[in-house]
Amino acid sequence: MYAISVDNLSKSFFVPIREAGLRASFRSLFKREHREVLAVQNVSFSLEPGEMVGFLGPNGAGKTTTLKMLSGLLHPTAGEVEVMGFTPTGRDKEYLRQMTLIMGNRHQLIWDIPALDSFELNRAIYRIPHDEYLQTRDEFIDLLDLQEIVTKPVRNLSLGERMKVEIVAALLHRPKILFLDEPTIGLDVAMQRRIREFVKTYNERYQATVMLTSHYMADIEALCRRVIVIHNGQILFDGALADLVKRYSANRRLVVTGPAVAADFSRYGVVVESGSGRVVLNVPRADAANVTSRMLHDMPEIDLLIEDPAIEDVIEDLFAGAGMGASDERDPLAR
């Protein structure tokens, strides 16, 4: 049985058309014209229990919309969703007790009291047995080094500290399903890493199924072997992260170091970087082996490293690719 299964899921919104000008805005007081926006179109995928999947796509691709449908906040226009055997929009209390949705820019803790008190309140709301609560709480506090932080009023915490206690609060009931929407947004690199490690530990200890969106590829690389790429509401790719790179990067990167780096490399490929003792070339994937042997033949003294391009670049290319130019349209939900 799948933990999450999504079948032909679609969501469209009707948004009012706003015209410029006084007369038009006056007219729209009485009569509004609407336009249909397809936020998600015929999306299908499924997740095994315990799987961690990265959900990638540019702003407005439909990631948040999909996560909201999975967590029951949005009714699908068409298609089926089943999570842990529940239909999310039924908002069954049993279901709500088994899942959590964490959004990096939304806060749920009570501002003026210490996080510890908010935890206690969540214990009551989620009906967590007392022993289990204490054990989970202390475990999380340990993992994230929160001993000092949880007794201070939330309003006095830094952004990163607040995010950590938010995550603890959202996981106290040991949900089996985690939807993480940009959990590390706006945090510094060290804090991002901390939260990443925590999510990983949680997933391992509690066999939780995790769906994660992030702008930071480091998050995805560290946590997810599988990614789903969505663009303009449609799935472009669903598979292993390594395959994504193989399939969509037209190029490989050749990094040259050694005494000959002053030479002209442009006859081997596109020079993207040179200086400080190294040169980086982009070479079409199919030619990579060929070019490499030519270079080693021409300049046997150089050191050569063949790399895949950074995932960011692959994804950027992917979204900018033919027929699907990056859309400026904003996700109607990303307000």
Binding site: K68, H75, T100, R106
Partner: protein, 279 residues
């Protein structure tokens, strides 16, 4: 089967009790961080009844000291008890619902396995703790100064306390129902204004109900307002007999149940609509 259902009912009550006691406690702790603000708020609150008291006393004095069965001392008693009710009755302003819709606050509340109205009610109860700490000495002082005609018996005090609590629930539940309309329409500020304007006139807030024209009194009987203001006050100042008071409490219960059913109905519809257009 019935045993199982009983047990789940019992669990539900146990759960809600645990939640309420915690939430009330934290809401009370919270408000103690805003002592100055609360103090100023309570002080500002006194102005409104003083205005009414001055006006009606002036009118009564010009009419030989009594109108509509209220003497000057009765008016004083009425508006002193009024202050208690004003604090007891604070509910969530329906405008807060608009704010929640606009700021996407419902999303978080919808994700929890708890009906948000419980959170609000518990918060509102706890939130009043400090108000009372401040209000009670003020009331005692005002009582010594103004000498109201206020001699409640034991049962009147008891029924008054019950009537206060129920009055709070009547007002909160109906304001919640009104607030839920923001799931369908935005910019309803004027409707809320109308709601509170009617409350001002027909609840016993600006004037005891007995002083209203007959037709207005009859109209008030079809509205929930007087069960949050006029009725509890009249219980305290002894203008309701024992049986009238008990009947009144029954009517309060009816308004609460009616409002509750309306809230649940609107809530289900509203959530459906909310989650169709974007949470």
């Amino acid at each position: 089967m019935t045993g199982k259902r009983m047990r789940s009912r019992f669990n539900e009550i146990k759960f809600l009790t645990a939640f309420y006691s915690l939430r009330v406690k934290y809401a009370a702790l919270l408000v103690f961080q805003y002592r100055l603000a609360t103090f100023l708020w309570v002080v500002g609150l006194i102005v409104e009844p003083v205005i009414y008291l001055v006006i009606w006393s002036t009118v009564a004095r010009e009419q030989g000291g009594i109108i509509g069965g209220y003497t000057l001392a009765d008016f004083t008693a009425y508006y002193l008890v009024w202050m208690i009710l004003r604090v007891v009755n604070i509910g969530l302003h329906p405008g807060a619902f608009e704010w929640r819709v606009r700021n996407g606050r419902w999303s978080h509340l919808l994700l929890r396995p708890l009906h948000p109205i419980h959170d609000d009610i518990a918060f509102l109860i706890g939130n009043k703790a400090l108000d009372f700490v401040i209000l009670i000495p003020i009331l005692i002082l005002l009582g010594l100064f103004f000498r109201p005609d206020l001699n409640p018996t034991g049962w009147q005090i008891l029924l008054f306390i019950i009537a206060c609590l129920l009055g709070f629930l009547v007002r909160t539940v109906w304001q919640w129902a009104l607030g839920l309309t923001t799931f369908w329409v935005v910019r309803v500020q004027a409707i809320f204004d109308l709601y509170f304007a009617i409350e001002l006139l027909l609840s016993g807030r600006i004037v005891p109900l007995d002083l209203l024209p007959d037709w207005a009194q009859r109209l008030a009987n079809f509205l929930p307002y007087q069960w949050s203001f006029g009725f509890p006050i009249e219980v305290a100042i002894g203008r309701q007999t024992w049986s009238q008071a008990v009947t009144g409490i029954g009517i309060q219960l009816c308004w609460i149940v009616g409002g509750w059913i309306l809230v649940m109905f609107l809530w289900r519809r509203g959530v459906k609509r909310y989650s169709a257009v974007g949470a």
